[in-house]
Symmetry: C2
Subunit: 422 residues, 2 copies
């Protein structure tokens, strides 16, 4: 027997229905913000991903050589392909360019709860503007998507990498030590961070101050520490304006400043943000994004870019954890012919009701009323229509409401309006 490859999944109808519901809901929020959907191929040249993330990414991805000796890789994420697309074909489009996408991504990872080798991401990029209102709208879009999809318990955290870099500079952190420091900050390992900084000759006061700033949500404390630097102050003022617009105009209350967001990626800069479902523990991060530089690296003309990615699979896990009531798979009408002579009438009624928008099935196995009713029940059918010679003589059918079990004889001509009202 053949099996699904390790770390990948098959989605049966009930799962698929959930996924499509979430996808459609997310799309409608993206659309309402004037973002337009795009798509890129499932694989790219390997070099695209090593250029962005370094050679070490090779250990985590599915790379292979094709029959024409091209080095290719199944995409591990969607931002690099989208910026490649932008640089290759979309640079002349009117700005800002607001693009969104859904796509499956692949990582050669140890499979575990909430982590798969093939997984889906939703994401977007805004290219060509970096005003505070543009960034506020971007963050609000991410938040609104998760909120509109039905999540109740989400938390938004916002940081700024330019300010963090200035703080690092002020306490005298070298670029080398910074590389070791970032993963510790990302994992909130402040004791290890403290030792590391002391070992590298950072003053005790500065270590204490840094760890305080990494945990504060009070922008005035940050301002106090960076007040000598005009650029850092401007970044903070932009951040404050973003937070003001989020609260005042976008009506989002549930956020905090969090200077410890480092996104562990070299190409981010300026604003960064994350949205978590805190009750999910280690796999709590649903969304991450911010402002970044990739266009120039990929050979394009420099322009501001920012965006975010939402973990589609985790969003569904979060909804399930919140006991969200997804729509269930059902059949509107199941039609049973009393014998196979009735099949023409059955098909005619089925086709008529399908054209009116109903989901209609009829007995395709000639198995009689009892077994057919059982099958109709297993498909969550709302109504069963039974068609026999006696009914047809009166231009009628028997309509059975599967919730109440009530049956009635009804004229075929009245079937449409009867079903429409239910």
């Amino acid at each position: 027997m053949y099996q699904v490859p390790r770390g990948t999944r098959d989605f049966p109808p009930d799962e698929m229905k959930k996924r499509r519901y979430v996808e459609e809901n997310m799309k409608s929020t993206f659309n309402s913000f004037g973002y337009a959907e795009i798509q890129t191929p499932t694989f790219e040249t390997l070099e695209l991903f090593t250029a962005k993330s370094g050679n070490s990414i090779k250990d985590e991805i599915y790379d292979f050589t094709d029959k024409g000796n091209r080095e290719l890789a199944l995409r591990p994420e969607l931002t690099a392909p989208v910026i490649r697309f932008y640089v290759e074909k979309l640079q002349m489009e009117p700005k800002p360019l607001k693009l969104y996408y859904f796509g499956n991504c692949f990582r050669y990872d140890r499979p575990q709860k909430g982590r798969y080798r093939e997984f889906q991401q939703a994401g977007c990029e805004i290219i060509g503007t970096d005003t505070p209102e543009a960034h506020a709208e971007l963050v609000a879009l991410a938040y609104n998507i998760l909120e509109n999809v039905g999540l109740k318990k989400i938390e938004l955290n916002i940081g700024n990498l330019n300010i963090l870099n200035y703080i690092f500079k002020k306490i005298g952190l070298s670029e080398d030590v910074k590389k070791e420091v970032l993963p510790l900050i990302d994992k909130l390992l402040f004791d290890d961070l403290s030792s590391l900084l002391s070992d590298n000759g950072i003053k005790k006061d500065d270590v204490t101050k840094l760890i305080e700033l990494l945990q504060t949500s009070d922008s005035s404390k940050i301002k106090d520490f960076i007040k000598e630097d005009a650029n850092a102050l401007e970044e903070l003022s932009n951040l404050e304006q973003i937070l003001y617009l989020l609260k005042k105009s976008f009506n989002i209350d549930n956020f905090q400043i969090k200077m410890s967001i480092v996104r562990s990626l070299d190409y981010y800069k300026g604003i960064v943000f994350e949205i978590d479902a805190p009750f999910l523990g280690a796999e709590k991060q649903l969304c991450g994004g911010g402002s970044y530089d990739l266009v120039k690296l990929f050979g394009g003309r420099e322009t501001p870019t920012s965006g975010f990615a939402i973990g589609f699979d985790r969003t569904i896990i979060a909804l399930e954890s919140e006991k969200y009531e997804f729509p269930i798979t059902k059949t509107d009408v199941y039609i049973i012919p009393v014998n196979s002579d009735m099949i023409e009438n059955v098909i005619e009624i089925a086709q008529k009701l399908r054209k009116e928008g109903h989901k209609v099935e009829f007995d395709l196995s000639r198995r009689g009323i009892g077994k057919s009713l059982k099958y109709a029940n297993s498909k969550n059918s709302q109504y069963v229509i039974i068609i026999g010679p006696e009914e047809l003589e009166k231009d009628s059918v028997t309509l059975r409401d599967m919730n109440t079990g009530k049956q009635q004889l009804i004229k075929i001509s009245e079937l449409s309006s009867k079903l429409k009202n239910h």
Copy 2:
């Protein structure tokens, strides 16, 4: 500069809008027939595809070895994965099981018009029944999908491989010669076929008869030739019943018997059908399907299966050839603040209209009214709202209809109902 891999495509917003329109339309027809959507992974074990199609398939597919030394392949088609899924996990589901799916497939092929290395297919399987009404419904579903999507000029052809096999047997064709014969029949190369058969000792009369039957649409001619064989006669009677139901109950007129459909695949049997867009020439086949055996080969308990695949990319090419008018990408409302002090009011109005279902953008680049109007025009905006201090003093905004160029001052409280009526 990095480029899209050879034979693959990026889809910009306008293309993507077409694709989503076609996909949604197809889904709604699948749903109306009571089919339920499923999904399988992008890659499978290589063995799954060689088991189905033989080792020669390796030359045409993207196969690779993963970091755990598994031999995997990007799926070249979707039936094998779906039947693998069925055998692995769905055998206990109530029958018939009606499943549909959309998925990208991959072939290492010479890229040319209408043929890509990554392409999309739509398809379905019905598992557990093979009555004439089940097969008629399957064929009608395929036809209805292409019809509902907007195609006007399509042709349906239906054959039967069991009858064809009986005809081969009656004229004394060996299994070896059959293998050479099928590709010639598939390509309608009747002169070559005639030589090949004569070279292999088939009687001149039988050769003439076979070529006549391969081109006839008259079932009585076929009946006349197979009348000694009860099984072949029953197959023909089922085929006639399918055609009768298609015409009489499904109201499909535009079909013919075509005994030359061989589907060039070993695992098909019984009914086979194809739907073409004849004006597309060599790439005219939009849909192919029929009844087949795969469940047992994949280790499952034998059960009737049939299904079809629709070439999604070709369907779009066919619609474009028919000059089908796809919906265009547009923005409902574009909001311009006269200066950046107005941004809060702009966002509040934008968020309100978005919640009411409108696609709303506002100026994120602080570039003034003239340039913003140009941008709004490039996004096909229907309305522009201009917000300045004078307007706000009167709790109003300026509403500009981008089609007529007409502007009016309108109360903010009346904006929703004004936009709803347009």
